[in-house]
């Protein structure tokens, strides 16, 4: 047998694997679980850093608390920890790290799920040391903040002035800096775009230790690389973000018994721009909730008059009756019914908590959609593979991903949202999860297993993730969460040309390849 030659390897900088060109579906020949950095010249590095006034904490008590991230699957111990204090301190750290080729892993809230904020040796830079809000401009509706601040803290401070962030990730204990690096998707992203689209300007420390302000007008190429750049081209120190006036939410829920009509209605609602917030949350694929919400009574009234009659979803009572009829002659499905009832009993009070509701309006979505609801998702291992597609492929992606969930887990939930794309931000999206063929909106679906008391090995969960991501390869689409342990998929999603271009830029910006290494490249 002749030695098969890898076609893709010939065009890319990946080493050639002699086994076969596409030996495994969905996995290019790339190591996704990085090797631990061995600590070459670590003592000299620490000495040089401390001469520059950078404190490197090396006790087990300091390093041990960073051993894993929210995913809880990757475990890695840094050699030392630096708590961020100022741009000058971080710039000094990066200069010394370049000199001694010591990897630097940046961490905000540590809410990554693929080990992206886990340091497999080297320095872990904890950005939560810089978490102050610096300035609010009430007239221009902008805020300047240090990047280590958590979104819930930002929301609390803004609310004192009757202001609010525009869009933030569902779990608000993520940091602003980390979110701008990866995207951030909210239930109003179908109207306002992702959280990273709200950035106006940034103060950045480059991998070689320069302190640079960047925006669409100033150092725009760096700005394009930093926003949605997975932390490869610089460390965000401060950010200026767009904000808005606070409004309570007018919430409505519609219930569906199957995925397809619900997803079709979501696509229709986004296209009509009749709602300010839209999203789908499911209990398995039996009880699917379409969430719609509004910032004003006028918008709500217009929706109720013009769009609501077109929706195929039902109210809670009607849906319960239809579900009872459906399951009554399927006794083998009654276990699933018990799960649905339990889930409803636990989740619904937190989705509509009396102390955050007034006259049908939700007063504080920050609390409800992050802290109160979040406790019902995830487990010790947070596993949330996802698929990001254009409108046309979305229904197929959701249905195929749902079939994989059914195969692996007895209980799970799906979360789907649209993301409004901005034509002027196309350059930002180049290395991101936004599929290149998406026009107007991109759509994301997260597939979240619920463990229900069962413990799963990392190995089993990895197989589940691979199977979801393989759907993306077959559909030629993208993912929100590539990076870390799933970085092998990035070449499949974006193509060698884009990845090689950014790899070349990375090598120029970060000659020792030390900043957040092994996340993307």
């Amino acid at each position: 047998m002749n030695l098969p030659v890898s076609e893709t390897a010939a065009e890319s900088s990946l080493p050639t694997d002699p086994v076969a060109a596409d030996a495994l579906i969905g996995v290019p020949r790339q190591q996704t679980n990085p090797s631990r950095w061995r600590g070459e010249r670590w003592p000299e590095f620490v000495q040089a850093a401390e001469l520059q006034g950078v404190e490197v904490r090396q006790r087990y008590a300091d390093t041990g608390m960073y051993i894993t991230d929210a995913g809880g699957l990757a475990h890695g111990m840094p050699h030392g920890v630096v708590v961020a204090r100022s741009a000058g301190q971080i710039a000094a750290l990066m200069k010394v790290a370049q000199q001694f080729a010591v990897p630097v892993t940046v961490r905000g809230g540590g809410l990554t799920t693929e080990g992206e904020s886990v340091a497999f040796g080297g320095v872990l830079l904890d950005m939560t040391g810089m978490s102050r809000l610096l300035h609010v401009d009430k007239n221009a509706l902008t805020v300047r903040t240090q990047a280590g601040i958590f979104w819930h803290h930002l929301a609390e401070v803004l609310r004192r002035d009757g202001l609010d962030y525009i869009s933030a990730p569902l779990n608000l204990s993520s940091s602003v800096g980390g979110t701008l690096g990866v995207g951030g998707i909210d239930v109003n992203s179908s109207k306002h775009g992702c959280s990273a689209d709200q950035a106006i300007s940034l103060l950045v420390v480059t991998p070689t230790g320069e302190i640079v302000e960047c925006s669409d007008d100033e150092n725009h190429e760096l700005f394009e690389r930093i926003v949605l750049g997975y932390g490869q081209f610089g460390i965000i120190i401060e950010a200026t973000l767009k904000i808005r006036r606070y409004t309570p939410l007018r919430m409505h829920y519609f219930y569906y018994a199957s995925l397809k009509p619900c997803v079709e209605d979501l696509l229709m609602l986004d296209a009509s721009q009749a709602c300010d917030y839209t999203g789908i949350l499911t209990m398995m694929d039996s009880a699917i909730t379409l969430l719609v919400a509004f910032d004003s009574d006028a918008r709500e009234a217009e929706f109720l008059r013009q769009v609501k009659p077109e929706l195929r979803g039902h109210g809670e009572l009607m849906f319960a009756l239809r579900l009872a009829a459906k399951f009554s002659w399927r006794p083998w499905k009654w276990k699933e019914v018990l799960f649905l009832l339990r889930r409803k009993r636990e989740l619904f009070p937190d989705l509509q908590p009396a102390h955050h509701m007034q006259e049908g309006r939700m007063l504080d979505r920050t609390v409800v959609f992050s802290r109160a609801v979040w406790k019902h998702w995830g487990n010790r291992h947070m596993v949330i593979p996802d698929l990001a597609t254009n409108r046309d492929k979305f229904i197929e992606a959701v249905e195929r991903g749902n079939a994989v969930c059914r195969k692996y887990f007895s209980c799970y939930t799906l979360y789907c949202v649209g993301i409004r794309l901005r034509d002027d931000h196309r350059a930002h999206y180049e290395l991101s999860s936004i599929p290149a063929d998406a026009e107007g909106w991109a759509y994301g679906c997260e597939f979240e297993p619920m463990y229900n008391g069962v413990e799963y090995s990392r190995d089993r969960l990895q197989s589940f993730k691979n199977e979801i991501y393989d759907i993306g390869v077959e559909l030629e689409t993208s993912y929100y969460r590539f990076g870390g342990m799933m970085k092998g998929y990035i070449r499949r999603a974006l193509g060698n040309e884009v990845v090689e271009k950014h790899l070349q830029l990375k090598r120029e910006a970060d000659p020792a390849m030390i900043l957040n290494r092994d996340v993307i490249f």
Binding site: M1, L3, P4, L14, P15, T16, D17, P18, V19, A20, D22, A23, L24, I25, V27, R29, Q30, Q31, T32, N33, P34, S35, R36, R38, T63, I67, T68, A74, H75, G76, M77, F120, G121, S410, E455, Y456, S457, R458, D459, R460, Q462, N466, M485, G488
Partner: protein, 404 residues
């Protein structure tokens, strides 16, 4: 006495996978290997797609020197006494044909663990919060290592397992598998496939494939028979029935003991206290007799269980047995007749290949498989397999009561 976090016995794929997880998490890990590395390893070297994926994701692209020629394998071909043959491609694409001597050494080096080769494991004793491992470098004095955990990844006749359960190997049937290498005169067997014979006259496990311009003729049988007679019988059958013309076997033949039974009847052994057993020592072996992918995955699970136990301050056995359940399901499903008939537990599609055959051939194949299975009658596995198959159907899982 030197104190480390974890000692792993054996320098195989399971050991490397466990070491990778432990070293990544910053734990001081020492691997004890009785031979000098790189060491020879008896194996067909045909890895399954799942194992290939694991190697790529955890250790990176495979260097050329860890592969035999042909470098890859497309799937398996089953041959039956009625002279029906069926080829099945692996779902996941072609897989590597590993040169175990270099492949094992490569993954061990990639894991980043410290290796003490030429050093034999002698004994272990568990104390309150650690295990004292006694070992000896060849020609040297015995020495002790203090470890928080000990992982036995030392193969079917595991000395670590024997130190925990001295009688275990007497309780399970052991088989001998041996292979001889022949210069090829003419071989019509497709070299892109691993060939397996369901033939009761040839033995319990009969296989052949090409390697480095020679043909392997492999036989497996219950310990007690004569390897050379068995091998000669199989080689003659290949020539008569399949036209495989080979020169007499070269001198470098090899063989080893295998624990074939535990995967079939869910009788795995995972260790005791702070001592974990992993890889083929536990009994993991999938249906084409390939233990490498199970070794990689179970090794990784052992490693992550130790990390988890240290982080959560929980008994490591509890965590390991919870985590390993998925690997047990995956492996034992491959022997479960209900799963074989109604699910797709293997990495190639036997039911589909069967249904594509003419009805007459299908009947011949099923009849031949039945007569082949009767060869295993003496081990009394039939009822046990039916019992655990029913257990899987009703409870969704296999019982953990039979595990040691």
């Amino acid at each position: 006495m030197r104190s480390v976090d974890v000692v792993i016995v054996g320098a195989s794929l399971a050991a490397a996978a466990a070491a990778k997880r432990l070293v990544d998490a910053g734990l001081e890990t020492v691997i004890l290997e009785k031979q000098l590395l790189p060491r020879h390893k008896i194996c067909s070297g045909i890895l399954s797609p799942r194992g290939h994926r694991f190697l790529l994701e955890n250790f990176g692209p495979l260097p050329r020197n860890v592969l035999h020629e042909p470098t890859s394998c497309r799937g398996v071909t089953f041959h039956f006494p009625s002279m029906v043959s069926m080829s099945m491609d692996f779902f996941g694409g072609t897989t590597p044909h590993l040169h175990r001597k270099h492949a094992d050494h490569w993954v061990i080096e990639q894991s980043g663990a410290e290796v003490m080769d030429d050093t034999s494991f002698l004994a272990q004793r568990e104390l309150d919060d650690h295990v004292v491992v006694t070992a000896r470098k060849r020609g040297g004095e015995a020495f002790d290592l203090k470890a928080r955990y000990l992982i036995g990844a030392d193969g079917p006749v595991s000395p670590v397992l024997r130190s925990l359960y001295p009688d275990y190997h007497k309780q399970i049937p052991m088989f001998f598998v041996g292979q001889k290498f022949h210069e090829i005169i003419d071989c019509p067997l497709d070299e892109a496939y691993f060939h397996f014979w369901f033939h009761p006259d040839l033995g319990h496990y009969t296989w052949s494939h090409a390697r480095d311009s020679r043909q392997i003729v492999g036989v497996g049988y219950k310990i007690g028979d004569k390897f050379h007679d068995r091998h000669l019988h199989v080689a003659r059958y290949f020539e008569e029935k399949h036209g495989v013309r080979l020169k007499p076997a070269d001198d470098d033949h090899e063989g080893c003991s295998e624990n074939f039974g535990p995967s079939l009847i869910n009788r795995y052994v995972f260790g005791k206290g702070r001592v974990l057993i992993t890889g083929q020592a536990t009994g993991f072996l999938n249906m084409i007799g390939e233990g490498m992918s199970c070794a990689l995955h179970s090794g990784a699970i052992a490693g992550e269980s130790v990390v988890d136990a240290m982080l959560r301050n929980r008994p490591v056995q509890d965590i390991y047995r919870q985590n390993i359940a998925s690997e047990v399901r995956r492996t034992t499903d491959q022997w479960n007749p209900l799963k074989i008939a109604f699910a797709r537990p293997h990495e190639a599609d036997f039911p589909k290949a069967l249904m594509e055959m003419p009805m007459g051939d299908r009947i011949k194949v099923m009849r031949d498989i039945w007569s082949f299975l009767k060869l295993y009658k003496e081990f009394r596995w039939g009822r046990q397999i039916m019992a655990i198959s029913a257990q899987r159907l009703l409870h969704g899982d296999y019982s953990r009561k039979n595990w040691l």
